[in-house]
C-alpha cells in the first residue's frame, strides 16, 4: 500500500496540501489500471474507494427516471471520481466505466475519513477540491435543462 508522493504532485485534488500532508495521503493510495469497458464502480454499490485519474479516460453514467442509462460526463486526467462515497449513506450514485486503458489512484474511503479526523487542516484543504467537481457537474446539469 502507498505510492510515491511524486505521483500526487500536480493533481488538483492535492494541490493545497503541504509536503507532509502529501506523504500521509500517498500512504493511503494504490495505483490501479482501468481498461476499456471495465466498470470501475456501479451505481448504488457501497462506496469504499475514491479515484483520481492520472491518465485514464472514463465515462460516468446514471440511471434516469425511465431506467435508461444517461451519460453524465466524460472524465480524463486529473479528474476525481467516487467522492460521493465520503457522504452518508456511502454509496456510489453513478457508474464509472473505462474508455481507454490508463492508470488511476485509488484511495480507501474509511482510511481517508480517519485521516480527515486526525488532520482537520488536511480535510479543510481537500474538501473544497472535492466539492468543486460537484459544483461543475451541477452547473452542467442546469445548463442542459
Amino acid at each position: 500500500m502507498g505510492v510515491n508522493v511524486a505521483l500526487l504532485r500536480g493533481l488538483s485534488l492535492f494541490s493545497n496540501l503541504s509536503e507532509s500532508q502529501l506523504e500521509k495521503v500517498a500512504g493511503l493510495c494504490r495505483k490501479i489500471t482501468v481498461y476499456p469497458d471495465q466498470i470501475l464502480f456501479k451505481e448504488r454499490e457501497p462506496g469504499n474507494t475514491i479515484f483520481v485519474s492520472m491518465e485514464a479516460d472514463l465515462e460516468v453514467l446514471f440511471t434516469a427516471g425511465d431506467d435508461s442509462m444517461a451519460r453524465m460526463e466524460w472524465l480524463g486526467a486529473d479528474e476525481t471520481l467516487g467522492t460521493i462515497a465520503l457522504i452518508p449513506p456511502h454509496q456510489y450514485v453513478s457508474t464509472a466505466r473505462g474508455l481507454t486503458e490508463g492508470t488511476l489512484l485509488a484511495i480507501d474511503v474509511d482510511k481517508m475519513q480517519k485521516l480527515f479526523q486526525q488532520d482537520g487542516r488536511l480535510a479543510v484543504s481537500m474538501i473544497p477540491r472535492i466539492t468543486s467537481a460537484c459544483h461543475r457537474k451541477t452547473a452542467n446539469m442546469k445548463s442542459e435543462l
Partner: protein, 58 residues
C-alpha cells in the same frame, strides 16, 4: 441539513472534518444552481428533479 434525531437539530461537532463533506457538497450544488438539497444521497436524478422543480417555480 436537518438533524431530526438530535435535540434541537444540533450538529455533532467532534467529527466536523468528516461530517462537513455533505453540507459542503450541498453548498456547492446550491452555489451552482440555487437549489438546496436536503436529503441524502445526492443522486444525479434527485439533483436533476430538484433543478426542474426549481425552474418551474421561477
Amino acid at each position: 441539513m436537518d438533524t431530526p434525531y438530535i435535540s434541537f437539530g444540533a450538529k455533532p461537532v467532534a467529527e466536523i472534518s468528516t461530517d462537513g463533506v455533505a453540507p459542503a457538497v450541498a453548498s456547492a450544488i446550491h452555489d451552482a444552481s440555487g437549489v438546496w438539497m436536503r436529503e441524502l444521497p445526492y443522486t444525479p436524478e434527485r439533483v436533476r428533479q430538484a433543478l426542474q422543480n426549481f425552474q418551474e417555480m421561477k
